[in-house]
């Protein structure tokens, strides 16, 4: 049998076009002859591939037609895993953002550092110790020449004071009170009286909570001050009372009159009075007196946001603090004066008496 005839038969067989008789004969032939059987399989597979190709093309055409109807673009936008804009921004610009953030943080820190706000101090409250170093920096060259002359006159350290405040005697034998913030951080503390004499002192007790520090003059040149003319008021003073302070905002003693305007200090601090009084750096630690010459407080700060508003630690806290001084720290007896000798005097006369007991506190550190 020729090949083409066989194929023709296979085609008819596969297409089911044979008569039942032909079919029977062909199947017999297939069984007998393996070559024929293999040929049938091979042809079947091959022609089925042609069919499959056709089906595939048809299916692809159908799918493509369907695909035309899909709005791929919109879908794509919806389905992209869009991170939130902030994440995208970070991905795209993170290096720039990092640099900007670093600069910002640095700037903030620097600003805080320069303005002194890095400490937990409120910028609206200014402690009134004078930063002498800064004030005098330009005068240093001039001052040095003079210093030699001055030093021969007064006993005292050769270097300029770093900080300065005011202090006043609480007893005639050399105990002086000032603000803790004045002496805080200093190596050595000197007091200078109205006559310009400096005495070396020792800090014997500090009470940071009430911003108080107690000094004792340990200089051999120091002689007894004589009886203290003022007393310390135990009771609270009334609002509206006329008051004044005396201290060293500059190089000489200055008095500042004012009035007691509030029973509480900065941010409602009950240990302080609020005052209407012109005080300046250097006034810190100065005595606050009423008209009768009673110490009613110690100046320790002013508000920076309002002109003329100052604060003073109430005298009863001073008394409490004095009673807390450990006995070991006291080499001499500390007895507070109970006899007020200024009550009947006019203010200028009071001040004349007072000035001998008020000192400039000079703080040095290396």
């Amino acid at each position: 049998m020729r090949d083409n005839q066989l194929l023709e038969m296979i085609d008819r067989y596969l297409a089911g076009e044979m008569t039942p008789q032909e079919r029977e004969e062909f199947e017999l032939l297939r069984q007998k002859d393996n070559a024929v059987s293999a040929k049938v399989e091979e042809h079947k597979n091959f022609t089925s591939l042609i069919k499959q190709y056709n089906e595939r093309v048809n299916l692809e055409t159908r799918l493509n037609a369907i695909h035309q109807e899909v709005d791929v673009h919109t879908l794509k936008d919806d389905l992209m895993a869009h991170p939130s804009w902030i994440v995208q921004m970070w991905r795209n610009h993170h290096s720039k953002i990092s640099v900007a953030a670093s600069v910002a943080i640095l700037a903030v820190l620097l600003t805080l550092f320069i303005t002194g706000d890095l400490s937990n101090k409120d910028p609206r409250f200014q402690q009134l110790k004078a930063d002498v170093e800064r004030v005098k920096s330009q005068q240093d060259r001039l001052g040095k020449q003079q210093q030699n002359i001055i030093n021969t006159v007064k006993s005292g350290p050769s270097a300029n004071a770093k900080f300065r405040g005011t202090g006043f005697a609480i007893s005639s034998n050399g105990y002086i009170v000032t603000n803790f913030h004045v002496v805080n951080g200093g190596d050595s503390v000197y007091v200078q009286n109205d006559a310009g004499e400096s005495f070396h002192t020792k800090v014997i007790y500090t009470d940071p909570a009430n911003d108080l520090a107690f000094l004792q003059i340990i200089d051999t040149a120091f002689k007894n001050l004589g009886p203290i003319p003022y007393t310390f008021k135990k009771a609270k003073s009334d609002l509206g009372e006329e008051v004044y302070t005396i201290g060293y905002p500059g190089n000489d003693i200055k008095i500042a009159p004012g009035a007691l305007t509030g029973a509480t200090g900065f941010k409602g601090d009950t240990t302080e009075y609020e005052l209407y009084i012109p005080v300046n750096p250097g006034n810190s630690g100065g005595p606050l007196l009423d008209n009768k010459g009673n110490i009613i407080g110690i100046i320790n700060g002013k508000q920076t946001e309002a002109m003329g508003v100052g604060f003073a630690v109430k005298s009863n806290y001073l008394l409490k603090s004095i009673s807390n001084i450990p006995a070991d720290s006291l080499t001499k007896t500390l007895s507070l004066n109970t006899k007020n000798t200024m009550a009947s005097l006019s203010r200028p006369q009071q001040i004349k008496k007072l000035r001998n007991y008020v000192f400039m506190v000079k703080v040095y550190n290396q």
């Binding site: 499959q52 190709y53 794509k76």
Partner: protein
């Protein structure tokens, strides 16, 4: 994927019956139902929308043939099956393109379909070879082959269409064409 709620998702059995009955509308429903899922997979794994289309259509063909052969068991959801095939196909494509084939960012569960995809690709290769061979065959052989083997036309029809004077001539011509097609097919 809540923005695909407006697309009608046909039930799996509806799809299977529809495909067995050559339903165009069911094929369309099927296509529209799961394309977004595959688009999402591809475009979020270093592909574009055209590649998504290719991969998706291939997966639909795999599923279509599987259903036509009658061996799709409803043991897994159609959705999972389609996703798994697309995922496998895309992994292979990524490897071929030397694009990151390490790990894929997944959006659905998937099944192991490696063997099936393998078998599909072998068959696909044969079919493509056939396509190439048919293209090279030339007329009138191509039409004769298509008419006879694809469209199941009788020799009588073909005789009349090509104006052969008798069926034997037509048969001889068909035989010659088939031999040529085989030659072209196996030469590749």
């Amino acid at each position: 994927m809540n923005n695909q709620l407006n697309v009608e998702i046909p039930s799996d059995s509806e799809v299977i019956i529809g495909i067995l009955n050559n339903s165009d509308s069911v094929l369309k429903k099927l296509y529209l139902a799961y394309f977004p899922m595959v688009l999402q997979l591809i475009i979020n794994n270093n592909g574009d929308e055209d590649e998504a289309k290719d991969i998706y259509q291939e997966a639909i063909i795999v599923l279509y043939n599987k259903i036509k052969r009658g061996d799709f068991e409803l043991s897994s959801k159609l959705k999972t099956y389609i996703y798994s095939v697309c995922r496998r196909l895309w992994l292979k494509r990524l490897k071929q393109l030397n694009r990151n084939a390490g790990n894929i960012k997944d959006f659905e569960e998937y099944l192991p379909v490696e063997e099936e995809v393998e078998r599909h690709e072998e068959r696909d290769m044969q079919i493509n070879k056939m396509g190439e061979a048919l293209k090279l065959l030339g007329e009138p052989c191509k039409t004769i082959m298509e008419d006879f083997y694809m469209h199941n036309r009788s020799m009588q029809d073909i005789c009349e269409r090509f104006g052969y004077t008798n069926a034997d001539n037509a048969k001889t011509q068909k035989y010659k064409c088939l031999q040529r097609l085989k030659k072209l097919f196996f030469q590749q």
